[in-house]
Symmetry: D2
Subunit: 335 residues, 4 copies
Amino acid sequence: MLVVMDKNATAEQIERVVRAIESRGYTARPIPGGDRVSIGILNNAGPVDPALFAGMPGVKDAIAVTRPYKLVSREIQPSDTLIQVGHVTIGQGHLTIMGGPCAIESEQQAMTIAEHVKTGGGHLFRGGAFKPRTSPYTFQGMGLEGLKIMAKVRDTFDMPVVTEVMDSETFDMVEEYADIVQIGTRNMQNFSLLKRAGQSRRPVMLKRGMSATLEEWLMAAEYILAGGNRNVILCERGVRTFVRHSRNTLDLSVVPVILKESHLPIIVDPSHAAGVRDQVLPLSRASVAAGAHGLMVEVHHQPDQALSDGAQSLYPEQFATLCRQAHQMHAMLQE
Amino acid sequence: MLVVMDKNATAEQIERVVRAIESRGYTARPIPGGDRVSIGILNNAGPVDPALFAGMPGVKDAIAVTRPYKLVSREIQPSDTLIQVGHVTIGQGHLTIMGGPCAIESEQQAMTIAEHVKTGGGHLFRGGAFKPRTSPYTFQGMGLEGLKIMAKVRDTFDMPVVTEVMDSETFDMVEEYADIVQIGTRNMQNFSLLKRAGQSRRPVMLKRGMSATLEEWLMAAEYILAGGNRNVILCERGVRTFVRHSRNTLDLSVVPVILKESHLPIIVDPSHAAGVRDQVLPLSRASVAAGAHGLMVEVHHQPDQALSDGAQSLYPEQFATLCRQAHQMHAMLQE
Amino acid sequence: MLVVMDKNATAEQIERVVRAIESRGYTARPIPGGDRVSIGILNNAGPVDPALFAGMPGVKDAIAVTRPYKLVSREIQPSDTLIQVGHVTIGQGHLTIMGGPCAIESEQQAMTIAEHVKTGGGHLFRGGAFKPRTSPYTFQGMGLEGLKIMAKVRDTFDMPVVTEVMDSETFDMVEEYADIVQIGTRNMQNFSLLKRAGQSRRPVMLKRGMSATLEEWLMAAEYILAGGNRNVILCERGVRTFVRHSRNTLDLSVVPVILKESHLPIIVDPSHAAGVRDQVLPLSRASVAAGAHGLMVEVHHQPDQALSDGAQSLYPEQFATLCRQAHQMHAMLQE
Amino acid sequence: MLVVMDKNATAEQIERVVRAIESRGYTARPIPGGDRVSIGILNNAGPVDPALFAGMPGVKDAIAVTRPYKLVSREIQPSDTLIQVGHVTIGQGHLTIMGGPCAIESEQQAMTIAEHVKTGGGHLFRGGAFKPRTSPYTFQGMGLEGLKIMAKVRDTFDMPVVTEVMDSETFDMVEEYADIVQIGTRNMQNFSLLKRAGQSRRPVMLKRGMSATLEEWLMAAEYILAGGNRNVILCERGVRTFVRHSRNTLDLSVVPVILKESHLPIIVDPSHAAGVRDQVLPLSRASVAAGAHGLMVEVHHQPDQALSDGAQSLYPEQFATLCRQAHQMHAMLQE
């Protein structure tokens, strides 16, 4: 933390900031500059809140110098985290593709799509049993019944399954059936849920919030690691911007930054970023080319009939093309 | 909903869209235009998801024409909702000011600040007992003990209190002590929590999500009303933009739009929008001038010592100025 | 500037950064911290580009500490700039209201509206002769003829006029007829135009770019001041965000920040921020309440017939209400 | 255009909208719906401004149904535009890589880098002679001298060159030396410059504005085509968002959308999107994978010494890697 004083800050104002720093147990180191004084804060165990000093008299700015995250940081753990789910390994050196419908609608629908995912080249089956929906009047998912269908998919096709958990009340239930528990975009900073996920025995896929900074996202993951669960997969799914030709704007620059800052695996969900089918294949290729460890895409055999998000679901043959192209790209990058 | 076809869409593609519309029980009304056909969707009971049609062959666009919200809409209920909390009325014609610290830190701190809020001209006391914090390593609030302190504030100063609830597990507890239960920005689309709030006997203050559209915000409120609780107060607190001179960008245009679209009261929290003290007074005045029904601001007698958000907390004398100016402005607008 | 090194940066990497700083004539001051070294840059005459160091090996971050602007800064000139245009003074302590149509469409239209602006309480007449239009196929303004009409408005109603200049080629012409020359949003970083404006004998109103940061905006003004023209009026007109209920999001927090950072007058254009008439009056009041020195609003006696931006133009009687309320608010703040 | 009326709009209000539509020479087609009337607008030659109707009494919304662009649209010209520059073809089926320094700093610098670009696998040499700089106090480019150096590069290495033009005054000069004339981000809606570019005999590379929508960008290109110059190359370079880990957010979803909506070539500039070197290679690969027709990247042999944008410039060996990987990816996609 660097506290930058006004050009005409008085000695008393500087002294007051120094005392405020020291009263919190940190070390204050004034740095006289060309035309103003700055004060460095040292020996802070955890992150320091810039807001603590930004409002004091004579202070022009308070600038965070170090990152607030610890356990998720590559500075703490240089080696990549690899996550094992059944016979699938997720992380550096691997490309993991997860496919399936937005929502589980029936056993027949799930089994049909799962077969397409399997034969198309997918490694995991995704599907929603508890669905966060903008409107209280639309289909909210099949709940427990949906989870049971997913378990059947896993057993039938020998494919691990990933599904979303929406609250702590149903966490036990979801954890029982899912191989990977997903925390959705809208819950990225549901801290109660993150704490529960920290106690889970399942790997957790943490989707980036709609307008989350890199730091907020990693701090959300930090909650899970701090709770004792080190198996976190990050999932970029587009952020909200002024752009209107796609539902969200996929932020692929986050992929190399995560690879540098953190040891956790990072995958990309192009379906929710795009919102329309036509963009999913190009964005999937782009994600792998940017270095992502995997993809999560929506697939439906009858997208016109889907109860949710049909417009962004790939047809099975498109999914097969995606798997083929993604693996080709990934192989090229491993050379 | 209007489904706009490509210029060169075939008759078969048009027919397929018509069938898709009718298969969902709606009426399809093709509208031949100058150089392309559009298809109106009629007789839909609830909202229709544009995504259902946007991805079909020959479709250029699917445009939502009507609003998806019902119970929160002024089209359904033309008269303003007024919410009574103790002897305080919140809504059209009233200006309600809520002040207090970001977090309850001790009984002494709370009582000291509450006295300043009361004498400064505030109507409600705000304070956090359960704090959503970006970092797992920072102060998370006093919990139940904090709630009890708030109850004591209410009894001592005869001022209703508002505090945040973070999850369903602690909802009963918060509800027992708070006069208004606040759902925070990061939980605006925590649909499980919204459903629980729908069953609450307390008025709920619903803060706007960091990047929520008007529609998403009103639909979140719709969850609470649909659950049976009609006492919802909306709270604008700034949205996330590229701007860096304030923590968030206060969106005051939302105030007249809410007044037009909904019958629910709308208040503004300029403290979280600004992030720094200097902007709070101007933005408070601006909020009242824009037509807001109230303000929620952070006040602290020793902001340098605050455990959270000190930089944005007003000094007690600033809060008194704010109350005076806000009431003057409000009176002027009532003339 | 503070260059923050990686935790495990080598002595050689640190030395290399020091040399790079010194090779540019600055002073490097290494600051050993708890677990990493930072290097302060001192004695730089102008701003230092963080990008110069951010990409060097071993560098974690390069953080600008001081502001890059000089002439526009209140640190350089503490007293407010007041701008005199005819008998109108613009700046601290005054409230200046500019009204008129988006585009000059005919002499009759201009004279009719000007009369409404005058009697309604406006101080300046605004109108476009050269119109920046998104589409090449829509009305582009009356050009020279429009300027002549504006001159006639000034003479008839004894009201100074403000109009936009779009390029250096027509600058002489606009300067001849206008009392204030406006540089539009889309040209905020048209640096050739800014340089020309720096040589103008007219005050310049510089609108904020659609997605300009505070710093970019002030640096654009700095171009004009550096060119020799100290009479610059800043005009906030909304920024582009994800929000869809208004055309742009009016950023009123910029008003107190400009008042603190700069000595230049700041006015607000709520019409372009809103895009629809209903929001203009509330946002106008909010702007004055936030401390703006003036307003620029669109007025039209027949908005349904306007050749551009009719939907956001006030009816004359609305403009009169706006003037009355704005002056009341301003008077209250002067007390 | 579809004008959506309020639920309780009166017959008179509907009639007034119909008359307003017809008074502009369009056809009005009222569409009675379930609970409200909408009015379609037909037989409009060009685009209709929604704002014309959005503010009328009884109108809830005015929704643009068709796209406002014509000449740039694939609906008008289904076949891809291919642009020939010397022996280089730009457009569908080709991958064109442009490399070079941000700014031309000296003949020696330019020739050194150009040799690296040529041997690394680049097709065009880029470099700035006129530099748009945020600050008036930083290096503004070598001007004419820089252009002459670029011409020498072209002759020496048989490589076409691309450089930016900042205003109409210097357009003739730039056009004389450049093979492709670039219009920069900050000038995307400098309509005077676009009109001049429409009369140019050179292909124009039009960078996307910092916060331009797809529509605004294509309409800016429409200005150039409408002026008579059909050789326009679009260049995505990142948009401004809340994100802070990259300078801008590269919007790769725009690539497939442009490919669908327009016949013009689209290339990507990952250097300005990233702002830091580490992200350039992953984003370059991602751009090609998304379907872009080319890349424009910054290269410098001594980035620490560069007068501008050194942090985002690739080292020559990184550029060679980029060319190799990009061509591999492009070849894979052509299969």
